[in-house]
Each structure stands twice: as C-alpha cells, then as structure tokens.
C-alpha cells in the first residue's frame, strides 16, 4: 500500500471513530469463555441443532437431516495473540447432500446493541466483519441476516491450512431498521455446508430481501470428509469500512458480557452449595437466585442429571431430590428467579427450615440459567 493510501485509510478510520475502545460488537470473539463445556461430540443430528454446545454465544445450526457429524471444542490454538479458538472436526462424512441440508455457526445479536449502525436510515453505516481461520482448504460462506426485516448480505471465503485474517466489508443498508429492544435482530452466520435449496441462486452481494437460494452460493461442504477441520477465532464486527486490530478484552470482562445470556453454577466440590432457601412443606423447598449482571430475559433452568443434585436438612444432611426442579413465572425475571424443588426424598423438611440446594456428592452437578437468543 502506498503512503498516500495508508494515510487515507488512517483518516478513514479516524473519521469513523474506529480509534478507541469497545469497537467489537461480537461477544466472545476470542473464544475465551466456555461455561457450558469445552468439548461436545456427536453433533449434527436434529436433536442437537440450534444449540450452544461449547464456547459461549456461538450457536450451531444443522438442518435437513444431514448425515454429517462433528465435534466442537474450545481449543488452545490460535494466531499470534490468541490463546483459544473454536475447533470443528468432522467425525462422520456426508457424501450425499440433500437439497435442504445446512450447517452453520452463528452469533445472534440484540437490536438494542446495533443502533449505532443506523440501519434503515439515510445515515446507515458500513460494517466490517473480520476473523482468523485455518483448516482443511475449503470455501465457506458468510451471511449477515437481518431478522427484523428479513434481509441479507452474503459472500464466500476460502480457508487454507495456515492462520490468516479474513475481512468482509458489509455495505450500509438504508432499508429496514433494527428494533431497539432485547430481541434477535441480526445473525452473523458462517455457512459450512449447504444443499441446493441454499446454493442454486446468486450471492446477495448487496443487502436484499432474503432469497433462500442465494444464502450459501459457492459454499463447499465441511462434511465432505472426516479429514476436515476448521479453526476459527478473533471474530470482530465493527462500524466502519476498515478492519482494525482485534479488540482483546480481559477474561473477566468477556465472561460478564456472556452472563447476560447464560450463567452456570458448577460444582467445585462434591457437596458444593448452589443456593440457600427455605422449606415450604415437608418435601418442598424454594431457592432464590439473583443474577448479576441481569439476564436478557427470564431464563430457562437446566440442571443436567437430577441425581447429581440434592438438598440439605437438619436431621439427615444431604438428601436426593426426586422430581425435576422448576422455576416459577410468577417470580421470574432478568434479575432473579425462584427455583422450586418439590420432592425431597423421605419428606425430611420442616416448613420454614433453612435448606441448601447442593451437589449430591457429585462434582458434575450444576444449575444453569439460559437467556440466549
């Protein structure tokens, strides 16, 4: 690049206010946080589609009953400056791609976090998405999908066996504003496998109403061989036309941001205490959980294997809980919720007695609250 061109780029960056902190709109772009798990195997079946298997905020979607299966891990690898990446490893190939098959990884963003883009107005801004990737050489797709207005932009990118940074400028879109609320407005989608329903058209190289056939034109198949791997990290989306260096955040900052969408209390010892509550009857107890930071919305409660959990009482110490824990819409919200345990084994409680929700001699126990998009 000539000196003049370099200076012009610097001026452009300054004009776009891209200098300074908090540029990256993407969560967990460096794949630092993995509250759910650091590894998930056997993914690809319909039973595990549209889920968040490992690194926080990164969703996997596979539709159309693909035969392909993969393992997803948070892996200690990355280009200079990155300790972690998301690794996808094909474990079962899919040699025959049906028309409706699709496999994508994505991040979903709230409309209220996207207002600076001014989408749908005469002041609409360009965006730049950048990411680092390496893997089995293959062409994949990127799609920006406006969920509020059913509009999209698509392109392809070709990964090689060496880490390299990819950048994609997203043109400004003066049509279709993002809602200013906590609901899903924008997907950042990486297409890794697609049937002809999504590949038979022509790429949407400028924002346009969504046409399914235009969504993944030119995309190769991650499931073409069990040799296929993809490593990706350093994902950034910022307002402007030039990709600036990746904005590194501390682990603590990133974890706090992710906890708006998911928080998991994991056992650190065999009888770890998750919460303190009170007995309502001889076998029912309620526990109040407070959320800091507040969640995006009232959460779903998951606890994994029920037998990993227990409750305490004065007479018997830890006792099993026989029925799945539940939350209560009447007392739920983004800041707190009540968890009810309705079946203490042996009815050992006395109403009003203090009781703890604990790991029942099992370090695999957890209580998780999910407010993801």
């Amino acid at each position: 690049m000539s000196k003049a061109a370099e200076l012009a780029k610097i001026g452009e960056v300054a004009t776009n206010s891209q200098i300074g902190g908090r540029r990256n709109i993407v969560y967990n772009g460096a794949m630092q946080v993995a509250q759910r798990a650091t590894s998930a195997t056997g993914l690809g079946a319909n039973a595990t589609t549209n889920t968040y298997p490992t690194v926080d905020r990164w969703n996997t979607f596979h539709g159309g009953t693909t035969a392909g299966r993969f393992t997803m891990t948070q892996t200690a690898d990355g280009p200079s400056g990155f300790a972690n990446c998301m690794k996808l490893d094909c474990t079962t190939a899919d040699a025959s791609i049906a028309a409706g098959e699709e496999f994508l990884i994505s991040q979903k963003l709230e409309g209220q976090d996207l207002q600076a883009i001014c989408k749908g107005t005469s002041d609409a801004k360009q965006l730049v998405v950048s990411w680092y990737a390496k893997g089995t050489p293959k062409t994949y797709g990127i799609e920006m999908y406006d969920n509020d207005n059913t509009r999209h932009f698509t392109n392809t990118w070709t990964v090689t066996s060496s880490w390299q940074r990819f950048t994609q400028v997203i043109p400004a879109d003066t049509t279709g504003a993002f809602d200013d609320d906590n609901a899903l407005s924008l997907y950042i989608l990486f297409w890794l496998h697609a049937g002809s329903n999504f590949t038979s058209g022509s790429s949407a190289s400028s924002w346009a109403s969504v046409t399914a056939a235009n969504r993944a034109v030119g995309v190769g198949s991650f499931f073409s061989s069990t040799d296929n791997e993809l490593f990706i990290t350093g994902i950034q989306m910022e307002v402007g036309s030039v990709a600036t260096p990746f904005e590194h955040r501390s682990f603590g900052e990133e974890e706090e941001l992710c906890k708006r969408y998911f928080v998991k209390h994991k056992a650190n010892s065999p009888y770890d205490r998750f919460g303190t509550g009170g007995a309502v009857t001889t076998d029912d107890a309620q526990f109040v959980f407070k959320f800091y930071p507040s969640l995006r919305t009232a959460p779903t409660l998951t606890t994994g294997t029920l037998s990993h959990l227990g409750g305490t009482n004065r007479a018997n110490g830890a006792v099993a809980i026989g029925t799945a824990l539940s939350i209560d819409t009447n007392s739920d919200g983004p800041l707190s919720c009540v968890v009810e345990a309705n079946d203490y084994s042996g009815d050992p409680l006395t109403a009003g007695e203090v009781t703890h929700l604990i790991a029942n001699n099992n370090v695999a126990a957890f209580v998780a609250f999910d407010a993801e998009l």
């Binding site: 009232a298 779903t300 799945a324 539940s326 939350i327």
Partner: protein, 59 residues
C-alpha cells in the same frame, strides 16, 4: 427446538401454571418460564401449532 414432550408445572405461589417442563429429543430437560422472548418458550409455542402436539396438564 427438538422437543419430545412438554408438561405444565403448577406454581406453589399462585396454584396456577408457573412453568413448563420440557424434555428434549436427547432426553435432557429444562424448566421454561411462560415468558414470550424466552427462546425455549417461543419454540414451545411454535411446536404446539403442529397438529398432535399439546402441552400436558400439570399434575
């Protein structure tokens, strides 16, 4: 959302439906609030529109 079955759970505070116990196809389960905007509740509402799918009454 890979739903296998759903069942209302009664709130001990109001004695009305307080949440839905959903079992997914991989046999994991979750307790879902009756709140639009919660992705699981939204998915259950879509699931319920399909013929034959109903949310079981609470015990």
């Amino acid at each position: 959302m890979n739903i296998k079955s759903t069942k209302y759970v009664t709130s001990s505070i109001t004695n009305e439906n307080g949440s839905i116990l959903v079992t997914f196809n991989d046999d994991t389960y979750a307790s879902v609030p009756l709140v639009v905007g919660n992705r699981h509740y939204d998915a259950i509402l879509e699931w319920e529109k399909i013929d034959g799918n109903t949310i079981e009454d609470a015990d």
